[in-house]
């Protein structure tokens, strides 16, 4: 199993947000995670990627056979975990090009490879830019600075394409995208998709899942996965909302 989360509990400032979550992801799979606002989806992503301030009070996260709890964020990234941020950060003064080159070389160094030759790097930038239909002038700018909402999301997919992770977590990458941009994002994902890697797609909308067809759909509620189904579950949720799931969950927990 690529990612195996067992009985995960995560607290922020002493408040428990994730309350005993289990999730297994195999290579080649796409998992969608849906659920009402504020139920812990981004918190889960932060816990997997190693963000500070997210305290793991119980449980285990196994990635490629290693328990990654306590592992610094950059090591997890170099192991192959990638997060497409729900809210990408603007970093004035750091150019996209330098940023990507540093990231790519960090990963290569981690793997014991020499730095990427300039020519090869530029070629790769060009290729991936075209893939996600990013205008070339964006890469001469500072990271996300002054990018529109859609450009920021495309930029996340561009970075994913550059870094070629084995597990990519897309946190609401579809929010705020027009239909063309949505297709671009989906194209980026489908291009990367292979037998060797996996995706966790956090979304509120069925729409993205038309383009990135999931193997599993999970509903996160109150810090736990309360329901898991196939791609049809997403359709059902779109139609019926979350109330029936909440009712089911609460009825079960009363027992």
């Amino acid at each position: 199993m690529l990612l195996n989360i067992k009985n995960l509990h995560v607290a922020i400032n002493g408040k428990e947000i994730i309350k005993g979550l289990n999730l297994g992801v195999n290579q080649g799979e796409v998992h969608a995670i849906m659920g009402p606002n504020g139920t812990g989806k981004s918190t889960l992503a932060a816990a997997i990627t190693g963000r500070e301030g997210y305290e793991i009070t119980q449980g285990e996260i196994w990635f490629k056979g290693k328990n990654i709890i306590g592992m610094p964020a950059e090591v997890r990234a170099n192991e192959g975990i990638f997060l497409s941020f729900q809210y990408p950060v603007e970093i004035p003064g750091v150019s996209m090009t330098n940023f990507m080159r540093t990231a790519l070389n960090a990963k290569r160094e981690y793997k014991g490879l020499p730095s990427i030759p300039a020519g090869e790097f530029l070629k790769m930038m060009e290729e991936k830019k075209n893939l996600v239909e990013i205008q070339s002038k964006l890469t001469n700018r500072s990271v996300n600075e002054g990018f529109s909402g859609g450009e920021k999301k495309k930029n996340e997919i561009f970075q994913m394409a550059m870094l070629q992770p084995s597990l990519a977590i897309l946190d609401e990458t579809d929010s705020g995208l027009d239909i063309d941009a949505l297709k671009v994002v989906a194209k980026g994902v489908n291009e990367l998709r292979s037998e060797d890697n996996a995706f966790i797609v956090i979304t509120h909308y069925q729409r993205l899942l038309d383009f990135i067809v999931p193997d599993f759909v999970h509903v996160l509620f109150d810090g736990k996965i309360v329901k898991t189904g196939g791609k049809n579950l997403a359709l059902e949720l779109e139609e019926k909302g979350y109330e029936w799931i909440k009712d089911q969950y609460l009825a079960n927990s009363e027992v």
Partner: protein, 472 residues
């Protein structure tokens, strides 16, 4: 002749006054009468005030006593260095061909005494000869731009200084090469060193000047430099000040610039290392449509202290000024920034901008930043701002989540912060070299160099992060 170093026990001010009284003939040997008269007035002033102390309002956050209470040696004549001087002053910035003026322990090294006259008419050389050689220029500008009453350091400099750099750019002449003043201290005794520069730009002329303060040993020194710059009508002047001295050194740097109509200046004060620094920069915009960019970057750590005082006086209509200082402070370093903007009653349509941004890497580092605006005209645009912060934690996580180590992420963010000032260096090879120095400094790899600050150990090797920061 009498060249005995002072007795160690007495205080610095007392020692200087004694030297002045005992050896006035030697001190004023190269003067013309106006310079001698000025010395006497300045000494009277110094006797009244002495050196400033931290109980003076304008020195409140800088414990200057820590330096002025020390005992120093003060020499009234130049002396031989044990080192290979030619080698010390070779500057090896690639593609950066400068006219070099070398100063050792406060004295100009004059191979051939007198002046260098460039084919285009620019004259430069030792101030101690300029007094007699160029009495007209001296009488017109010397001591007129730098008011000796400003503070005790300017008074004692005016009273006792014996050497420094004189540069004259005639009307209509644009200097092709940058002139570079390299100043070094290599004595083993604790030295008090004074120097005085006078730079005069005629109408429609252009000059860029680089002023490097370096120490090449680890001994204590206190340097007190006063620079006067006259920028004639429609003349353009750039000044790059590089400050890289050892942790025991003190540097008092007072720069006074007077600008005539349609002139522009840009000063960039880049501080990499020094125990204690006080930079006073005064700009007098006295002709219409003049513009001043006053920029600075300071990267301090350990117990270092920097105090930047910028005074911009808008004394004519339609002038603009842009002040921007940025600092990164680590460990127990401390910094002061005071930006004074004075807009005279007739200086309508003034546009003055001031900004000071600081990053404190540790909670033990401190910054005191304060604007002082005095505006007597009514049609004025004036803005100021100051920020004090840490490295952006959101940005740190973003970078790390892409596999970049936390130390490299810090470096990237610090560099990004500083780049804003570096990018305003208009001389390309110099910009590149400063860029390298900043990266080294941020990595903690910039030592007080063996030689000129610009050698950076290995001049033929450009310095890189993991990243190539050249524009791709």
């Amino acid at each position: 002749m009498n060249n005995s170093p002072s007795v160690q026990e007495i205080s610095l001010d007392e020692m200087l006054v004694n030297q002045f009284d005992a050896h006035f003939e030697l001190v004023s040997a190269n003067d013309i009468p106006s310079v001698t008269a000025l010395r006497k007035l300045a000494m009277q002033q110094f006797l009244l005030t002495g050196f400033p102390t931290s109980s003076d309002e304008k020195w409140r956050h800088t414990e200057i006593e820590a330096l002025t209470d020390e005992s120093f040696n003060y020499f009234l004549e130049p002396y031989k260095s044990e080192r290979d001087i030619e080698d010390m002053f070779r500057c090896e910035v690639h593609n950066f061909d400068t006219e070099i003026i070398s100063m050792l322990n406060g004295w100009l090294l004059d191979k051939k005494s007198g002046f260098t006259t460039l084919p285009n008419g620019i004259v430069y050389g030792s101030l101690r000869y300029a007094w007699k050689h160029f009495p007209e220029i001296i009488n017109q500008h010397y001591g007129k731009i730098a008011d000796y009453q400003t503070n005790g350091f300017v008074s004692i400099n005016t009273a006792m200084v014996q050497d420094g750099v004189f540069i004259y750019v005639p009307d209509g002449v644009e200097a092709e090469k940058t002139i570079q003043i390299i100043k070094m201290i290599d004595r083993r005794e604790s030295l008090f060193v004074q120097s005085r520069n006078l730079i005069v730009l005629g109408k429609n002329s252009k000059l860029s000047l680089m002023h490097c303060d370096d120490s090449i040993n680890h001994f204590m020194s206190l340097i007190n430099t006063v620079t006067e710059v006259y920028v004639g009508e429609n003349a353009h002047f750039e000044l790059y000040k590089l400050q890289n001295l050892n942790d025991k050194s003190g540097l008092i740097n007072s720069t006074f610039i007077r600008q005539e109509a349609n002139s522009t200046i840009k000063t960039n004060t880049l501080t990499f290392n020094c125990g204690m620094i006080r930079n006073n920069i005064s700009v007098d915009l006295r002709g219409e449509n003049a513009h001043a960019d006053v920029l600075g970057l300071y990267l301090m750590d350990k117990k270092q202290h920097i105090d930047n005082q910028v005074y911009i006086s808008h004394n004519a209509p339609h002038c603009t000024s842009n002040e921007k200082f940025k600092g990164i402070l680590d460990d127990e370093a401390s910094a002061v920034f005071n930006g004074y903007i004075h807009v005279a009653r007739n200086a309508q349509k003034t546009n003055a901008y001031q900004n000071n941004n600081n990053i404190l890497l540790k909670p033990t580092a401190t910054i005191n930043t304060m604007p002082f605006l005095e505006i007597y005209a009514d049609d004025v645009k004036c803005s100021h701002g100051a920020t004090i912060g840490q490295l952006d934690q959101e940005a740190m996580f973003y970078l790390r989540s892409r596999g970049i180590s936390s130390s490299n992420a810090r470096l990237l963010l610090m560099y990004a912060f500083a780049a804003d000032i570096i990018n305003q260096i208009s001389i390309e090879p110099l910009r590149k070299r400063i860029d390298d120095m900043v990266k080294k400094r941020l990595r903690g790899e910039l030592s007080v160099c063996e030689k000129c600050v610009l050698h950076c150990g290995m001049p033929e090797k450009e310095y890189h992060f993991d990243i190539d920061l050249s524009k791709l």
